[in-house]
Amino acid sequence: MEWLAGLGHSALSFFQRLGRGHLLFFAILQGLPGMVLRPGLVVQQVYAVGVLSLIIIVVSGLFVGMVLGLQGYNTLVDFGAEQSLGSVVALTLVRELGPVVTALLFAGRAGSALTAEIGLMKATEQLSGMEMMAVDPVRRVLAPRFLAGFLSLPVLAAIFSAVGVWGGYFVGVGLLGVDDGAYWSQMQAATDFRDDVWNGVIKSLVFGVVATWIALFEGYDAIPTSEGVSRATTRTVVHTSLAVLGLDFVLTALMFGE
């Protein structure tokens, strides 16, 4: 009986959280049109969320591309197909690793920072204080951060993929001696702008919404103590990673399923 009650309790609190999350999402959406009048707020947040994530994205993109070059070469050379390295590297990056790895890194770098920031603002009564000053924290604090995350992730993903393609080039062409022209020509032959690049951009837009939403909700819904904030930060990273990987499967099935 006891475990049944426990199950019921956790199910109820899960759906309550889900409901609160969606209410917050719609409240944020209502706040977005107002951002047109306050572009300065959004710029400030794009800096915090996007520019400060740039280094980790560029470095990771470079190394992921280099590893792809190395591994792809080792596999392809057995079939005498090392000329196809370019297409392997580009398709892997543009379709999957670009959006997904960027979203995971984003959750660790920017998402956790957002959660901690909002959670601490709540714990130190800054959000309450704002409310008492007749300023809606959802519109003033959450909406610009949401917009910034939503805009930054596709940009970061594009940079990740582009840098990764060059990383694969350095290893494949520079070190392993794959033909320069073959690298690019195979890549171009295999990669289609609408089917591959554009679908990747759509994926990263979806991930941007989800990752930022989760980060903001966890911060806003955190128990306002230091322990509550630290747990919320952890939850942000875990939930974002799970959501991104799960959604990636769904999106891939929809886009490339046929």
């Binding site: 800096y47 940079i159 022209g181 171009q188 032959a189 702008f193």
Partner: protein
């Protein structure tokens, strides 16, 4: 105010980098690469180019001297017209140079191999290669092989 200005500059750079990255990704797939001014064009007509792609290498004796820039089809002669762009410093190709479509490895990429002849005259920019050999098509080869085997056994 100074601080918000640097923030704006950084964000501007960030957005520009993102657009540049997207541009690179787009260029690599849509083949809108800026025209390679270096070098001179040659054309070659093949009966069958099956598998040859734009930007594929053009080699002489295994050394790459240029690349394929365009592939077209001539509806009157029913032939494929391949435009090659050869680097400017390799401007000594004899007029009777032959071109064949080869495959690197059994399943590898198709490329254009040039076979220089012995003529005194040199191929001029925009010139046409007369002696060509089409792509080998694996299915046809296997078909021929099986057919000849079958007829031997009779």
């Amino acid at each position: 105010m100074m601080k918000s200005r640097t923030v704006e500059i950084w964000v501007g750079l960030f957005v520009a980098a993102g657009l540049a990255a997207l541009f690179v990704l787009a260029m690599q797939v849509s083949n809108l690469t800026l025209v390679d001014d270096e070098g001179y064009p040659l054309t070659a007509r093949f009966d069958n180019i099956a598998g040859l792609k734009v930007r594929a290498p053009v080699t002489v004796g295994g050394v790459r001297i240029g690349r394929v820039t365009a592939i077209d089809y001539d509806p009157r002669t029913f032939q494929a017209v391949v435009t090659l762009r050869i680097q400017a410093r390799f401007n000594q190709l004899p007029e009777d140079t032959g071109a064949s479509i080869l495959t690197s490895g059994l399943l590898g990429e198709k490329y254009v191999g040039l076979e220089p002849g012995g003529a005194e005259e040199v191929l001029a920019p925009g010139g046409s290669i007369a002696i060509t050999q089409s792509s080998l098509i694996l299915e046809q080869l296997i078909g021929k092989f099986l057919f000849s085997k079958a007829s031997e056994e009779k």
